[in-house]
Symmetry: C2
Subunit: 467 residues, 2 copies
C-alpha cells in the first residue's frame, strides 16, 4: 500500500507508467545492497520521462534510474534515505534508426546491449561494446556507467562509441542531441558529462551509437607468457605487427584456471597450468590470413622470450571456446566466493610491480588471489578468495582492511579504484577520500547547478551529507 506522499506523486504521473514493485527492482547482482522504493515507473517515451522527473521534482522525491540492473557498484539501488521512485527504462526499447552506410544506430536507453549488437550485425555492422552481462545490461546503463568490456583496447569504452544523446535533465527539460556526426565542436561536451555520471545529472533516454565495419578476418589465440611484464611487451609487439588491430588482450591467471578446473571442469583448457596467459583477438585486413598473422606474431614473440607456449584457434568454434573460457572466469570466481573484488586500473608500466608488491603484502593473510582482466587497458579485476578449505565468512573482520590495502597500493601508483564499474554507492567513500579536491569541488558545483534539489540518484557518486 502506498503511503500518502507516494499516492500524491502517483496521481501526478502520466497514466499507465506505474509498475508493480517486485523484488527484482531492488536487487543488484552481488547481493551487497537491498534497495527500497516508493514507486516504480516505466515510461514509454521521452515525454513521459520528463513528466515523471517534473513530478518528482515538485514532490521532492528522489529518482533512481534503472536499466538492466547489472551494475556492480549499487548505482541502481538506493538502500538508505527517503524512498525514491525507481524510473525503469524497460519499456523504452525502440531502435530509432539504423544507417549502415553511416555506421550509426540510434537506440532507446532500455535496449539491451545484445539487442543493439544484434541489430548492428543484421545490417552487416559491429557495435563493438561487449560485456559478459550484455544480454541484460541496457545501453542506457552502459552509457551512464561508461561501461568497458573486452574490446575497449581497440574501440574504447562506451563513451567512445557514443556520438550523441537525448537526455532528460533534473528540471525536466530535454536535451535533443542525437547527432549522427563524428565531429561537432559547438559548445560544452554535455554528452560526455552525462556519460559516466551514473544517473546523478540526468537520465539518458536514447543514444546515437557508432558502429564499425567488421574486419575482413579475425584471429584468436591463447598465449602463455612468463610474466605480466612480458605480456605487456607482447602487447606492444602485437600492436605494431597488427597495425593497431589488436581488439582484445585479456590476462588470465593460473589461479583463475584452477578455479575453473575445480568448479567448471567441463570447460576445456588449452593451456592448463599456465601461471599467466593472455587471450588475444585481432582484426585483420583482406589478404592477410589470420593464421599467417598470428603464427608470425607467435614466432617473433617466442624468439624474444615473451611467449613460452601458445594455441592459435583453427576455427570459429575454437575461437568461441577460448572466449567461453575467458567469460566463465567470473562464474568460477562466483562459485568459489570472493572475499573482496577490485576493479582497478594502473599505468601499464606499474602493473608488474603492483602484482608483485600486492601479492607480497597479502601473502600473510592466508588467501588466494585471482588477478585477471583487460590487461591492454591496464584494467585488472584483482579479486581475493579464501584459502582452500576456509570460508569467506572467516574473513569478515579483515575484508575492509584488505580492500583498503589493495586500493591504497593502486592509488599510490597513479591508478584508479574504479576502472570500469563506476562509483555508484559502493565507492562513494573512496572517491571522497582519494578524489582530487579541486575536481570534487567542481563536480559538486556542477551537480548543484544542474540538480539543485538533489533528486537525481541521490547518494550515488557524491555523498549526500555534503550536498
Amino acid at each position: 500500500m502506498l503511503n500518502p506522499a507516494d499516492s500524491a506523486l502517483a496521481a501526478a504521473l502520466p497514466d499507465g507508467v506505474l509498475r508493480e514493485l517486485t523484488p527484482a527492482y531492488l536487487e543488484e547482482p552481488r547481493g551487497r545492497y537491498l534497495g527500497q522504493a516508493g514507486l516504480v515507473a516505466a515510461p514509454r517515451n521521452t515525454a513521459e520521462v520528463a513528466a515523471i522527473v517534473r513530478a518528482c521534482a515538485a514532490a521532492r522525491v528522489g529518482i533512481v534510474p534503472r536499466g538492466g540492473g547489472t551494475g556492480l557498484v549499487a548505482g541502481q539501488v538506493m538502500p538508505d534515505g527517503p524512498a525514491p521512485l525507481i524510473l525503469s527504462l524497460e519499456r523504452m526499447t525502440a531502435l530509432r534508426g539504423l544507417w549502415p552506410e553511416e555506421n550509426v544506430l540510434v537506440a532507446e536507453a532500455g535496449m539491451t546491449l545484445q539487442t543493439v549488437r544484434d541489430a548492428a550485425a543484421g545490417a552487416g555492422r559491429l557495435f563493438p561494446l561487449s560485456l559478459a552481462s550484455q544480454g541484460t545490461a541496457a545501453i542506457g546503463g552502459c552509457l551512464a556507467t561508461n561501461a568497458g568490456g573486452v574490446s575497449a583496447l581497440r574501440h574504447g569504452t562506451a563513451r567512445a562509441l557514443c556520438l550523441g544523446i537525448e537526455a532528460v535533465l533534473p528540471d525536466g527539460s530535454v536535451i535533443h542531441d542525437l547527432k549522427r556526426l563524428r565531429k561537432d565542436n559547438t559548445g560544452y561536451d554535455l554528452r560526455d558529462l552525462l556519460i559516466g555520471a551514473e544517473g546523478t545529472l540526468g537520465i539518458i533516454t536514447a543514444a546515437s551509437l557508432r558502429l564499425v565495419v567488421p574486419p575482413a578476418a579475425t584471429g584468436v589465440a591463447m598465449l602463455q607468457v612468463p610474466s605480466p611484464d612480458a605480456a605487456l611487451t607482447l602487447l606492444s609487439l602485437a600492436e605494431g605487427r597488427m597495425a593497431g588491430g589488436v581488439t582484445s588482450f585479456e590476462l588470465i591467471s593460473g589461479q583463475g584456471l584452477a578455479f575453473l578446473a575445480e568448479k567448471l571442469p567441463e570447460i576445456r583448457q588449452p593451456l592448463p597450468g599456465a601461471e599467466w596467459s593472455v587471450l588475444l583477438e585481432v582484426g585483420l585486413p583482406e589478404g592477410l590470413p589470420s593464421d599467417t598473422a598470428l603464427e608470425g606474431l607467435l614466432t617473433d614473440a617466442m624468439e624474444r622470450g615473451l611467449v613460452t607456449d601458445g594455441v592459435i584457434a583453427q576455427s570459429g568454434q575454437q575461437a568461441a571456446d577460448f572466449w567461453n573460457l575467458r567469460e566463465h572466469l567470473p562464474e568460477g570466481n562466483r562459485r568459489i566466493g570472493a572475499i573482496a573484488s577490485h576493479d582497478i586500473s594502473l599505468p601499464l608500466s606499474e602493473i608488474a610491480g603492483f602484482i608483485r608488491d600486492a601479492g607480497a603484502a597479502l601473502a600473510g593473510h592466508d588467501l588466494r588471489i585471482n588477478c585477471f582482466g583487460h590487461l591492454g587497458d591496464g584494467n585488472l579485476h584483482y579479486n581475493l578468495f579464501p584459502a582452500a578449505g576456509r570460508q569467506r565468512g572467516e574473513y569478515d573482520a579483515s575484508r575492509k582492511a584488505l580492500s583498503r590495502l589493495v586500493h591504497q597500493m593502486v592509488v599510490d601508483r597513479g591508478g584508479s579504484f574504479s576502472a570500469e564499474h563506476g562509483v555508484g554507492r559502493l565507492k562513494v567513500a573512496e572517491l571522497a577520500e582519494w578524489g582530487d579536491p579541486a575536481r570534487l569541488a567542481a563536480m559538486r558545483a556542477i551537480k548543484t547547478a544542474l540538480d539543485p534539489l538533489g533528486i537525481m540518484n541521490p547518494g550515488a557518486v557524491l555523498s549526500q551529507a555534503q550536498d
Copy 2:
C-alpha cells in the same frame, strides 16, 4: 603605458610573468578580428597560472588564454569589452614525461603539436593528431578547441587522444588529473568538459596524451571517384578490407585542383582534372605489403564502379608529395581569397545530397565553390570564392546571407556549423540560434557554477549579454 587598473593588477602578479604586448598577441590567422589587451602574462608553471587567475578574479579582469594563436574562430583574441589579460602558455613547454611502453606522453600546454609528435617519434611512437598548423599550434589550444585534423577517422579528435589533464579553474584551484590510465570511472568527466570549452571554464596547463605504436607499413593512394557518394561507398569498402586501418580519407574537388594549378603550379597533380578524388592513407600489419593491399582495393573498387582512376604511391617521397598537395589546398584557397569559409559536418548519408543541393542553391550567385576535407569524418570545408575575374569585395553585401544559406542547409540535414574549429567568437550567434535550448541552458548553468565572475575568456562560446 598601463592604465591604473592594469598597474594594480600587474603588481599582484607573480614576478617576471609580464610580457611586452606585441601585435602578434592580438592577431588571428584570417585577420577577421583584432584583439586588445591590458596585460600579457606568460607564466612558467602551473602555480603561476593559478596565481594569475586568482589575481584576475580579485580584480575582475577577464582572461584570454592563448596557445599558438592558430585558431580560426577568434577564441584567442578579444576585440570587445574591457581589456582582458592575455595568458600565454608560451613558456610552459616542458615534456613532463614519456612512457613509450605505456604509449603515454605528458606535455605542458604550450608545447607545439609538432614538438609533441617529434617527442613521440623519437621514442618509436606516434601521436596521431595532425593539423596543417601543427608547427605553431600548441597542444593546450588543440585540446581547448578539440582539434580534428587528417587522422581523426582512425584515431579520433584531440579529445580521444587525451587521457587526463591538469587545469586551473576560474577560482584558481588546480585539478590534478594527469592520469596515465585508459579506464577510470571515478566521477564526472571534467576532462572532456574542459576539452572543447575553448578556455571558458578553465585553463588546461598540461595533458596526458595517448600515443600509438606505428603500424608495420603505411600506404597512400589518390583515387578518382565519380561522385562524393561513390567516395563514401568506397570508404565502407576500404574500412572492411583494411580492418579499420584507414587512417585518412580526404576529399579533393576539381575546383581545389584548379586553384592549385593557377596559384601553385609547381605542385604536381597525379590526377589532373579529376572532378572528385580522395587521398587515402592506410596503416597495415606485418606481412601485408601496402602495394598488395591497395592494389586489391583499387581493383575491387574499380569493378564496383567506385573508382575510375587511381595512383598508388610507390615510395615515401611520392606519398609525401600526395600529402603535400592535400596540405596546400588551404594555401591555394588563401591565394584566391575566399568570400566565406564553412567548417561543417554532416551525417555521412546526407553529404551527397547537401553538395548537390547547396551547389544548386548557390548557382545563381556567380561564385566558385571549393568543397574538400575530412570526408571520412563527414567534415567538409565548404568554401566560397569569387567567380573568375571578380574580386571578393564585390561579395561584401551578400557574404552573411551566403553563409547563412550554407549553415541553414547543414543544420536542416542534422549537421553542425562548426565541426572542428569550435565556436570562439565567430560563431556565438549561430550557437545561440541553432543550439538545443536545454543544452544551452545547461551550458550556462555550468559556466555560472564554475566561473561566477565570468572572467574566463569572456565572450567566447556563450554570448556575454545573457551571462
